[in-house]
């Protein structure tokens, strides 16, 4: 039975710039606007050479915590992506020391930076290790799984797979080697 009211078509509109994007524009940092995620977290696309500058500016503006760094593969023919999730924690900590109980609707400010790399292009991103020490193993794992190289990383080597492994296992086009140990046991 067809619905008598047409479902509201999601209008194709350009994403509205969020507070972080507005601030970046006011400071003259080039970036791309992306759709916010399902929780409303602002997502900003960044060119690889400008990542350390923008991350340093954001850190100076209060985003003092790299909550997560990771990568993903967009799929066949798609790009490889490295993302950085930044949170403002110092302001929240000041607030919680000032008052015993924080109201429940207090949320830390968050922003996610994404660096898009062409699959067959130069897969190099400047490392954020200098800004955030926590990027150490996260960038190593992203290198291990996707082959994205982080320039300036103190230990540019695999984290989880054996050091002499060939290929990057989390890529969509990864082909599992047919080793005897990894064939079905039955």
């Amino acid at each position: 039975m067809p619905e008598d009211t047409a479902p509201a078509q999601p209008a194709i509109t350009a994403p509205q710039p969020g507070p972080v994007s507005t601030w970046l524009s006011s400071q003259g940092f080039e970036h791309a606007l992306l759709e916010p995620d399902h929780l409303g977290v602002e997502v900003i696309g960044v060119e690889a050479p400008f990542l350390p500058v923008i991350a340093a500016a954001l850190k100076a503006s209060g985003f003092d915590y790299l909550q997560c760094q990771g990568g993903y593969d967009e799929g066949p023919g798609g790009r490889l992506v490295s993302f950085y999730h930044l949170v403002k924690l110092a302001g929240l900590a000041d607030q919680s020391t000032a008052s015993q109980h924080l109201p429940g609707d207090v949320k830390p400010e968050e922003v996610r930076l994404k660096v898009f790399l062409a699959r067959d292009g130069d897969l190099t991103i400047p490392s954020l290790y200098g800004l955030f020490r926590g990027a150490d193993w996260q960038e190593r794992e992203t290198f291990d799984m996707y082959g994205i190289r982080f320039e300036g990383h103190p230990h540019p080597k695999r984290l989880l797979m054996p050091e002499d492994w060939k290929g990057y296992p989390m890529r969509k086009d990864y082909v599992q080697p047919d080793f005897y140990e990894m064939q079905d046991a039955y």
Binding site: A60, S61, Y180, Q183, A185
Partner: protein, 237 residues
């Protein structure tokens, strides 16, 4: 008779009731003081009562195995004393998923154990790869592709009681062995040996992480960053 007879009264009763031949007088002293057994049985009894497992575990199975060491399950009563050196162990309970990175270490541990040695493959991961057998890029599908396995203990993970059951079954296996057949039981080429043609290179992982030159350089470079040194107090978005 309510009260127990003294040994002399028992002998009197036996000599009186075993007529007309009479009680065997020569061996009675012997049979009451000497145990006759075979050397195999004695040897096996000693071995199966002191199966020392290697303190080895890689994943959640080892949580169950570690419960055995505590007083609640207390596997010392089976003579199992966990050893931290493979040279002193004669039982390897492979507890937990073995990855391609762990596999060489596991094989080396097994090879360092003295003969005779026994292996229990504990949990689904070590038998077939378990839930990792579907699409894992690195899990070894069945640890018996690396080392010979004496006993498969299924479960995900098995309860500590199940490990006891496996140890008891292994004790039965040890008890059935004979010294004269010992040479036949030695594993020859039961695990895969490939004549690798490898070229030795400098190890990438050398144990120095924080003291590595690259680490020092990165920290020095980070200290020079204006943001790393001092963060402006408030720059609102």
């Amino acid at each position: 008779m309510a009260e127990a007879l003294s040994i002399n009264a028992l002998r009197d009763q036996r000599s009186a009731s075993c007529n007309p031949v009479g009680a065997p007088s020569v061996t009675s002293d012997l049979s009451e003081n000497v145990i006759l057994t075979t050397l195999d049985d004695l040897h096996n009894w000693a071995r199966l009562s002191s199966l020392w497992p290697l303190l080895y575990g890689t994943a959640c199975c080892f949580i169950e195995f570690a419960a055995l060491i505590g007083s609640r399950f207390d596997f010392d009563r089976f003579g199992l004393v966990p050893r931290s050196s493979p040279r002193q162990a004669d039982l390897l309970i492979v507890a937990g998923t073995v990855t391609m990175k762990m596999a060489p270490a596991l094989v080396r541990l097994y090879e360092q154990m003295p003969e005779p040695k026994y292996v229990i493959a504990m949990g689904a991961c070590t038998i077939t790869g378990g839930m990792f057998s579907a699409d894992s890029t690195t899990a070894v599908r069945g640890v018996d592709k690396l080392i010979p396995v004496d006993l498969y203990l299924p479960g995900c993970p098995p309860r500590p009681e199940a490990i006891f059951d496996a140890v008891i079954k292994l004790r039965k296996k040890v008890g059935n062995e004979a010294l004269s057949e010992r040479g036949n039981l030695m594993p020859t080429h039961r695990y895969l040996t490939v004549p690798h043609q490898l070229k030795a290179v400098e190890p990438i992982v050398d144990g120095r992480y924080l003291r590595a030159e690259t680490q020092k350089a990165a920290l020095a470079a980070a200290a020079e960053l204006p943001v790393g040194a001092a963060i402006p107090a408030t720059t609102t978005a």
